[in-house]
């Protein structure tokens, strides 16, 4: 019976794989049929690389005033097609030397300190986490109302010797001096903690409790769209026991904005 189930699970995985293959096959031609943005070269020439990376050799140049179609973007590289049908990759830096049909400059935001100061969304992952002595893994996402204020949602799992569990936090964060490379911030919010105590002589039940937190941290802009984020949260877990529980949480991780 279990064997059979295992086989069916494997079969479903294989099916997912096949679906993925078919989807990817469909995605290709669909992309080719799309309408592309046309830009005109204003620099003496535009260099086309064989791949999307600084090391790939230049194999073609487009003359001034000639146009290229912008097919797609991968990180800071744009795949373009010339009028003669030659396709290659152009760096975002070089693309800044082109104009659109209406004469305006082509602009792509590669992420800089200005964008770090004011952006709409950010997300990150905490690779170091300590949740009341337990190791923790978590991710977060934030939406900004203005450069100072954001609403944040974080989801995490903590894995300790006494218990495991998951945490969901929703709150507000206020950044002081968002224009500074190193900026402090404070947080406040509420959440839910699901705790699964580990087996002891008497097996306690899993429990889901509401929590609230206050905290603060530092964010440090690295480069492009990257920044580091470290924070401390003090959680109060509202238990139905005699005393509420207090949990200290330390986290450190990478984040990016977009």
């Amino acid at each position: 019976m279990t064997r059979q189930w295992q086989r069916s699970t494997s079969a479903s995985w294989a099916t997912s794989f096949l679906v993925l293959l078919v989807l990817s096959a469909l995605a290709g031609p669909a992309a080719r049929a799309a309408q592309y943005l046309q830009v005109f070269v204003t620099a003496p020439y535009l260099e086309m690389h064989t791949g999307p990376g600084r090391g790939y050799p230049v194999f073609n140049v487009v003359d001034r005033d000639a146009s290229v179609d912008v097919l797609k973007r991968y990180t800071d590289w744009f795949k373009v097609r010339t009028a003669r049908g030659v396709e290659g990759w152009v760096s975002a830096h070089d693309m800044e030397q082109t104009v659109l049909a209406d004469g305006t400059h082509f602009h792509y935001d590669t992420g800089d300190l200005a964008a770090y100061t004011s952006h709409r969304f950010e997300a990150g992952a905490f690779f170091y986490g300590d949740y009341g002595g337990a190791s923790a893994v978590s991710v977060y996402g934030a939406v900004f109302a203005n450069p100072n204020l954001s609403a944040e949602l974080s989801v995490g799992e903590f894995l300790g010797s006494a218990s495991n569990g998951t945490t969901f936090d929703l709150g507000l964060a206020h950044i002081f001096y968002p224009q500074a490379r190193l900026a402090p911030f404070v947080m406040i919010g509420t959440g839910v903690v699901h705790t699964e105590p580990k087996a002891t002589l008497v097996q306690p039940d899993d429990r889901t409790e509401q929590s609230a937190y206050v905290g603060g941290g530092l964010r440090y802009y690295l480069t492009r769209r990257f920044f580091l984020r470290g924070e401390f949260k003090e959680h109060i877990i509202f238990t139905n026991r005699n005393q509420n529980e207090q949990v200290d949480e330390w986290k450190f991780g990478f984040a990016f904005f977009f």
Binding site: T2, Q6, S10, W13, S16, F17, L20, L21, L23, S24, A27, G28, A31, A34, Q35, Y36, L37, T50, G51, P52, G53, R54, G55, Y56, V70, L71, K72, R73, Y74, T75, D76, W77, F78, K79, L100, A101, D102, A125, F127, Y128, A134, S135, A136, V137, V139, E157, L159, N164, K198, R224, R225, F226, F254, F256
Partner: protein, 240 residues
């Protein structure tokens, strides 16, 4: 009130039609077939706008000075990579078994990316279990399920040539991260690190070969130790 206003306006219009014999619109109205003047004098333009719109006949020449709005097509981005993999996971003390997983990556720059993986495998029996015929784990506890979040770095990018006419981009990468492993009835904080190689037959498709180690502390077999679980897998991903 409205009728009175209309009569007033019509009277005004009639009076104007006498005085503005050069107005192209009105000449046309009264059956004159001469070619309209190429540009009406500014004074006439001003006079005609004074009249109420609903009573004036439609213009023959509408000035088309509207700015052409160029709709800028959106550039498709391909920073997200999604796919699956199949491979072999060596679960410490429990043998090597087939592993299936899914992976999702976000490429921030040409060098760095974030990656999340989730996979599962099913452990076999330890040699002790085989010899003594005692089961340490239930069937359900033998599922080895994990997820991880990693930061990856692409290095040694290059091109692979297939014959004379085909070149595929390729790259090595290293990654390290943290996650959780659910095995033997318990979830463990797990560190993972590994390296891989990918080839892109087209811009949107990548074939991966990767080796990763998943390390966690376990006391499943009585003593607390660091279990190292090596995994080798072959993956297929799509960029979108």
């Amino acid at each position: 009130m409205e009728i009175r206003l209309r009569i007033l306006l019509l009277t005004g219009l009639l009076a104007l039609s006498g005085s503005l014999s050069g107005c192209a619109t009105l000449r046309h109205l009264f059956g004159h077939e001469e070619a309209p003047a190429p540009t009406p004098a500014p004074a006439d333009e001003g006079a005609s706008t004074d009249r109420a719109d609903d009573s004036s006949p439609p213009r023959v020449i509408e000035p088309e000075v509207e700015r052409r709005n160029i709709k800028v097509p959106r550039i498709k981005s391909q920073d997200i990579e999604l796919g699956g993999y199949i491979g072999t996971l060596n679960i410490e003390d429990f043998g090597a078994h087939r592993v299936f997983g899914v992976q999702l990556a976000y490429h921030v720059t040409e060098d760095f990316f974030f990656q999340a993986e989730a996979g599962r495998s099913k452990a076999g029996r330890t040699s002790f279990e085989t010899l003594s015929n005692i089961s340490l784990l239930t069937d359900n506890e033998r599922w080895f399920k994990y997820y991880d979040m990693s930061v990856g770095y692409n290095f040694l990018p290059g091109e692979v040539f297939l014959g004379r006419n085909h070149a595929m981009t390729s790259s090595f990468y290293i990654l390290a991260g943290v996650g959780s492993t659910d095995f033997g009835g318990d979830s463990k904080f797990t560190g993972n690190f590994g390296a891989g190689y990918k080839i892109l037959p087209t811009d949107w498709l990548a074939v991966h070969v990767a080796v990763e180690d998943r390390v966690f502390n376990t006391d499943l077999l009585g003593v607390n130790k660091l279990a190292s679980n090596l995994e080798a897998h072959l993956g297929l991903t799509v960029f979108f």
